[in-house]
Symmetry: C2
Subunit: 414 residues, 2 copies
């Protein structure tokens, strides 16, 4: 930042996209050495074994058959009525909680996370999150001057660290009346962890206890971007816990079409709000409509229509579920290969229940990552370890990689 | 607003979309009485004479021929390099100023206006605008607690009211060091007015005078959403005035694909920044990249590709320009019919130079609008008058409507 032309709140250093830069180096290596010789685990999208991005036939056939006039026309600010209805249906599956529920369309899950942080916290209010997290949560808090605080995701047994959560949650609520807690589950990015139903019970016990003080306004923001790759429906059972909650606990779900519909580039998602109090959900709906209008007016109309059609038309739904199941199975196969192989070579990895990534805890993750790059293996280094993208690497390569990672890690220890 | 669950900054009353509600009543009337009997001037999109939304063949053929893998994949945060380059080219045409220029992709023009207000003003800083304006400017200022101040767009001769601008501009800069001035030109929404080159000279004289004080940070935000319907290229000549400006004047152009490409529902546009100082434009670029990441991550990839292809491929460019010229001529024909007919019946209208709307100054605009609705003529009432959508009404109906408006206005006066 070299000048004072920008307002104080908008002065940011050069944005350094580590992932994009690593992806570029991987792609250069592929051009130089050939696809077979390179393992590119940098990308956060689903790729088939030939290295091509997966685009569900059901989704893109629906787009290709769509009237130009629909694609061209504005969607309503809040999203079409049909999208609002269907996205709730799709999100909860069989496990829709008994609560008042409304949805507002957003550009991807990002828009919903942004709205949640913007609308349910004020400046300096705490936004708490587990310490393996998608970096944008922190960046959004920086942008809007919220206080981003992390706690350890895992205890020593690699279970959800309920004590760490409790300590941070209670401590921040002693300082402030308003708190938002982000949970990226099921199938956490970057670890693949999912909170179990029992773990959710314990979280809610603590949240309910603090909520006895009616001055406390608590929002749980659930980022479920990878949910459809964490099971075939039963992973949604925990949603039914979000009913009969007191008025001062609000549940906000950030829903994304990016992964579940292989529609990353179309920018469509929703903020889904739940409360036991109808008025509060209405307040949420009108507040987020205002925020939609103020930030991007309205969303991608064709993407809303795709979700609607693929849920309402039985044949199209069937094709969509076939696509989803096929690629979820592909992902599971790759993850199994990586996990088994890790076990064989003694590589410690974090518990994986689904999603696009598996994480390897490591100090010196930057060092390891750059040594791996010398072997043409491109893996993103996080603060606490390495993020391996099973979404982007063939099963064969998933089987081969753990041994090489282990060797590099051992070589550093010596 | 019934509860205090939302943070203070996000409490908004039920969002009442007047235009959407009027459009619904018009569509009900069409179903009841038939298309021929109803004049629906509520919509802000281009419709052909049969009442169908226009979707340029060149644009949608490009989409239909696009690789699924491109549509599916994420675009970079700032937009593709090709989009950044081509959108600058398309925006300025032959009249690219000698300045440092960079572009960041945004969801429609709204995203760019939002970024401009967010990044170049702080809380309570003045955002000044002419008093015929798109209501979202004010709404964005409300959302982000900026101080929205208007001045009269017109003097008594229906020319740009340079004195009103000067008074407000200088007055607000006496109170604050940082100011953003919005100009929605060429082809203002809702009046169709364009500032002439001479009027721009006088604006810049005043701006340059205030900018002698280097503590003053002045941003001119130009919303050019309707520019392509305000001439066949020469209307862009005023852009060349934005060169050799001092460092404390920043020019930000809100570019939209919505109207120029009949791509409203795809949500694509750009914030284009200009400065004589390369560092300041770089600061702008990284700040807005941060804001992109924090608000919506990235934009609609396919829309960026459409703009790129339609500018780089000579044949596709030719088809696109044919589409654009054809529909601009249609719009001009309708506007001419409306203006001539207004003259004949003595209906006072505001000067129109292009764009989607013509405005009729009127007190009691709500009353007139509801009386017109009884005659199945649906026209949006603004604070200062009526907004007639030449974009949405056939030439025949454009010719017929002024007489009926005049009669209704006269009947109220009696």
């Amino acid at each position: 930042m070299t000048s004072d032309m920008l307002a104080q709140n908008a002065r940011w250093p050069k944005f350094d996209d580590k992932i994009f830069a690593a992806a570029k180096r991987a792609s250069d290596a592929i051009n130089l050495y050939g696809k077979e010789k390179v393992i590119d685990s940098t990308l956060g999208a689903l790729y088939d074994d030939d290295g091509n991005i997966v685009a569900f036939d059901s989704v893109y056939k629906c787009l290709e058959n769509m009237d130009r006039s629909l694609i061209a026309s504005y969607a309503p600010i809040e999203g079409t009525i049909e999208f609002q209805k269907n996205v709730i249906d799709v999100c909860f599956g069989k496990y829709k909680p008994q609560a008042y529920i409304r949805a507002v369309a957003t550009p991807g899950g990002t828009g919903a996370v942004r709205h949640g942080i913007w609308s349910f916290t004020g400046e300096d209010d705490p936004v708490i999150c587990h310490d393996w997290y998608w970096p944008s949560y922190e960046l959004i808090c920086d942008e809007f001057k919220r206080n981003f605080v992390t706690y350890e995701l895992f205890d020593e047994k690699y279970k959800f660290n309920i004590k760490a959560f409790e300590k941070t949650f209670r401590k921040e609520l002693r300082k402030k009346d308003r708190l938002l807690a982000i949970f990226n589950t099921p199938a956490n990015n970057p670890t693949g962890y999912s909170l179990s139903d029992d773990e959710w019970d314990r979280v809610l016990e603590i949240v309910l206890d603090e909520a006895k003080n009616k001055n406390k306004k608590i929002t749980l923001l659930l980022d479920v971007a990878y949910m459809e790759y964490a099971g075939s429906g039963e992973q949604k059972k925990f949603f039914t816990k979000f009913q009969n909650l007191p008025d001062n606990i609000f549940i906000l779900i950030a829903f994304s079409m990016s992964k579940a519909y292989t529609a990353y580039g179309m920018r469509s998602g929703a903020a889904i709000g739940l409360s036991s109090n109808e008025d509060i959900v209405d307040d949420f709906y009108y507040s987020l409509s205002h925020a939609n209008r103020a930030n991007w007016s309205n969303g991608n109309h064709s993407a809303m229509e795709i979700l609607t059609k693929l849920n309402e038309d039985k044949d199209m739904e069937k094709s969509y579920l076939e696509d989803l199941n096929k690629y979820r199975a592909m992902l599971e196969g790759r993850a199994r290969a990586f996990i088994e192989s890790s076990k064989e070579v003694g590589l410690e990895i974090l518990p994986y229940f689904g999603g696009f990534f598996i994480s390897i805890p490591a100090e010196n993750s930057e060092k390891i990552s750059s040594l791996l790059e010398e072997k043409n293996i491109f893996i993103i280094a996080n603060k606490n370890g390495l993020r391996f993208a099973v979404c982007a690497v063939s099963k064969d390569k998933c089987r081969k990689t753990p041994r090489i990672i282990k060797e590099v890690m051992d070589s550093i220890k010596k």
